[in-house]
Amino acid sequence: MATRNRTLLFRKYRNSLRSVRAPLSSSSLTGTQSGVGPVIEMASSSLLNPNRSYAPISTEDPGNSSKGAITVRLPPAWVDVSEEISVNIQRARTKLAELGKAHAKALMPSFGDGKEDQHNIETLTQEITFLLKKSEKQLQRLSASGPSEDSNVRKNVQRSLATDLQLLSMELRKKQSTYLKRLKQQKEDGVDLEMNLSRNKYRPEEDDFGDMLNEHQMAKIKKTEELSEEREKEIQQVVESVNDLAQIMKDLSALVIDQGTIVDRIDYNIENVASTVEDGLKQLQKAERRQKHGGMVMCVSVLVSLCFIMLLLLILKEIFL
């Protein structure tokens, strides 16, 4: 697609107009300096232009001092909060990648116990969940009060961060559920394998003594007990994580935009903003008016004047008595 860049032409015009403007503006200085005029012109023009954030100290012409002196004001405080949140989100993202690797490692057949892998996974999961919860709480702080342009910016920043958070939490859940599924499958395979082995061992000894049978049965029962305990623990874990993340998702879904709906249209958002800003303005004006004509103000002023009168009377009484 074709485009055309007009910036060069624009800059050319701007520079030529600037040089036309600068001598004109400094010649508006007091006429008594006309003798040393050119020298001052050069000096003041060099002060005015290069450094934008430098406010020239010329005292003779206060009108000129505002030119070329854009002070870049600091962004409002909530920007720091939003930056903190995005940093946390980034951190959570890297940890999630680590978690994926840890899951893969734990699923691989290993000679060790696998307990330290489990521990690693648990800590990582907890850290990520903690980061997500913290970010979500901070996100609520971003909610602004009162209609203004700044509040719209805040609302939009909130929405954007909420979408990121929601995606992260969904990814976390997906990773967890696939890991658990694979783990269960592995365990089942392992159990089947063991069952098969024990059955194979079992059969030729069927005709053996009852004690041996009982021993085998006891061992099997113990094993199934252990298995069911483990299963229960895992289910507990799943329930906990579902609870945690469900809460986060519920809160976030209020903020996140549903794609494809009217709320996702730019023109709808502009119209709505305009109407809410107008409404807000009207409310403020109404409140202001009510306050001015309000009974409260009257009462307060009456009471204060009464106080003064009483005080005066008291003093007079003291003087005359």
């Binding site: 697609m1 074709a2 485009t3 055309r4 860049n5 007009r6 910036t7 032409l9 624009f10 800059r11 015009y13 701007r14 107009l17 600037r18 403007r21 934008r52 070329g68 854009i70 870049v72 004001r73 600091l74 962004p75 409002p76 920007v79 203004s148 342009e149 700044d150 719209n152 910016v153 939009n156 920043v157 929405r159 954007s160 979408t163 969904m170 859940r173 997906k174 559920s177 799943v238 329930v239 579902v242 993340l245 469900a246 998702m249 879904s253 935009i257 549903d258 794609q259 494809g260 709906t261 009217i262 709320v263 996702d264 249209r265 730019i266 023109d267 709808y268 958002n269 502009i270 305009a274």
Partner: protein
């Protein structure tokens, strides 16, 4: 597809190189261009945290220098003035200016003059100056569309403005496509001729360096035609989904405003019908009403299945699965209720206005012969109490367009009957339509009764019978596209501008209809493109018409002509 992609690419390029928090400032026209292809969530991903209109931005005095301003506006003189004021009192840290069409040097000079604080970082022309609603259909959303019907002497300044806007839009389309076309126009239309000639002047003389793109083996074709050559299509009632929604309720920038229908939940009062974002709509937008009903029923059944399984949560795994699938489920629910609401509303309207009966007669008038039977049918419907005024007007217009010359006595009787039954009817509107678009003014063979080949084709169709009585009408555009595909577009009727010439068939054709297009025609173009005939057609117009809009334009033009003739 290519137009939608071009506008999206322009917007992406605008935003990608500017880091940090941004505010996007649009004007009343570019807001439509942008909103129809780009969503709010995508803007948020690009760190655009505020979107404002250029009119309202001067009102507030808050300084937000931590934001960078990205302006995307049309280079009109009003916008330049507003921009001057805003540059002289800058509220934002940086200013990046993007204009949707060509800037004049004087405008750049004015802007450079007012940028005393030197906040402007770049000035670019990004030619996204049209509303790309569908893959092969664009519009310019022009408010004063009726001007094309008025002769130049009545309002020369207005017509010049109209023509300039159209030429700007056409130029932007070709700059976005990076092509320079060969131009043809409809001989009988002065407005079309003027626009064609001014476009040629712009592309080949005034800005010929800008349009000097790599030549392909066959140049694309720009065909400028006039709405008045086919006044029948906008008057007909529609029965395919997208066209029907626009005809009965109204579709503006792919949005449907349902606020007039009471008792709807807040999130259904305004809905979006976009083939890009809604898969169900994409597969059903050109289907007729009966098929849509069946498809919606199927969709509702599927959804009820999903809903039932969601309520049937037994195990922990089910619970986890529910939470995972919840966003999808919510989206599906929103989509299903949107389509159900639309179809219910349209069914109600069809029932109330007896549109099945009315439309059958309309289709007969448009497609089949038989003056006597037509007269009887129209008279009956005019006497019918439940037929609304606008439908009566449309029937008489269609009859008049077809049987203009046959049996003038009966035609006069119909006019009188219409005037007596419809108190709101403005007298003379039908005659005005005939003056604008009557049989002498038309080039194409609108009713298939001029050309021998067309007569034969119609007879064959009559013998074979039609699949669906309500969608038997083919817009005239279909025949035009066929002629282009066969390489048989007559030079006599559609001459070339100046010394343009085209050897063989073009591979890309942009058809611009002065006066507006309809969704029935855009459907025809989409279906034609799907046949892979080797030619890609793109359709554009000054507005997207339904019968209400077309009649409004007619009334407006009639009013101006009357007052004009009084002045003359």
């Amino acid at each position: 597809m290519v137009l939608v992609t071009s506008v999206r690419d322009y917007i992406n390029r605008m935003l990608q190189d500017i880091s940090g928090m941004k505010v996007l400032i649009l004007d009343s026209e570019t807001v439509s261009n942008v909103s129809i292809v780009y969503s709010q969530s995508e803007l948020l991903q690009k760190e655009v945290f505020l979107v404002e209109m250029i009119d309202s931005i001067s009102v507030s005095k808050e300084s937000m220098s931590h934001l960078k301003a990205v302006y995307f506006i049309r280079p009109t003189s009003e916008n330049i003035q507003k921009l001057r004021y805003q540059l002289a009192n800058p509220r934002f840290g940086e200013y990046h200016l993007f204009f949707s069409n060509l800037l004049k040097d004087t405008q750049i000079h004015i802007l450079a003059d007012s940028d005393e604080q030197e906040v402007v970082q770049q000035v670019q022309e990004y030619y996204a100056d049209f509303v790309a609603g569908d893959p092969y259909h664009f519009t310019l959303n022009m408010a004063s569309n009726h001007l094309y019907m008025i002769p130049a002497v009545v309002d020369p300044a207005g017509l010049q403005r109209f023509s300039d806007r159209v030429v700007d839009g056409i130029a932007a389309v070709f700059l976005a496509l990076k092509r320079r076309p060969v131009i043809r126009y409809q001989r009988t239309s002065d407005t079309a001729k003027r626009i064609a000639q001014e476009s040629a002047k712009l592309m080949y003389q005034q800005e010929s360096a800008l349009f000097d793109f790599r030549r392909t083996e066959s140049s694309p074709l720009l065909l400028v035609i006039d709405r008045r050559d086919d006044p029948v299509t906008p008057l007909l009632n529609q029965w395919t989904y997208q066209a029907m929604v626009h005809e009965l309720i109204g579709l503006q920038d792919n949005k449907v405003d349902l606020k007039a229908i009471g008792s709807l939940p807040k999130d259904q009062q305004e809905v979006v019908l976009s083939s890009e974002q809604d898969a169900f709509f994409k597969s059903n937008m050109y289907e007729n009403f009966g098929d849509i009903g069946m498809n919606i029923k199927r969709m509702v059944d599927d959804f009820q299945q999903v809903a039932k399984s969601n309520q049937n949560i037994q195990t922990v795994e089910d619970m986890a699965r529910f939470v995972d699938n919840y966003p999808e489920y919510k989206k599906m629910q929103g989509n299903v209720s949107k389509h159900v609401t639309l179809v219910t509303e349209m069914s109600k309207l069809v029932e109330a206005r007896k549109l099945m009966m009315v439309s059958q007669t309309e289709q007969d008038l448009a497609c089949n012969g038989g003056q006597g039977a037509a007269y009887e049918a129209v008279t009956d419907l005019l006497s019918n109490e439940s037929v609304s005024d606008i439908d009566r007007l449309r029937l008489v217009m269609l009859y008049a367009l077809r049987y203009e010359k046959e049996n003038p006595v009966q035609l006069m009787q119909l006019f009188n009957k219409l005037a007596s039954r419809s108190p709101k009817y403005k007298p003379g509107l039908v005659q005005f339509l005939l003056k604008q678009a009557g049989v002498e003014k038309r080039t194409g063979d609108l009713f298939g009764n001029r050309d021998l080949l067309n007569i034969a084709r119609n007879m064959a169709r009559g013998l074979k019978g039609v699949e669906n009585v309500y969608t038997q009408h083919q817009p005239l555009l279909f025949q035009t596209m066929e002629s282009i595909t066969r390489g048989r577009l007559r030079d006599v009727d559609y001459p070339f501008v100046g010394d343009h010439y085209q050897q063989g068939r073009p591979q890309e054709v942009v058809i611009f209809m002065v006066g507006g297009t309809t969704y029935e025609e855009s459907r025809s173009v989409a279906l034609q493109n799907a046949t892979n005939s080797g030619i890609r057609f793109i359709l554009g117009g000054t507005a997207v018409l339904n019968s209400k809009r077309f009649l409004k334009d007619l009334e407006e033009a009639q009013r101006i002509s009357r007052s004009g003739s009084h002045m003359v």
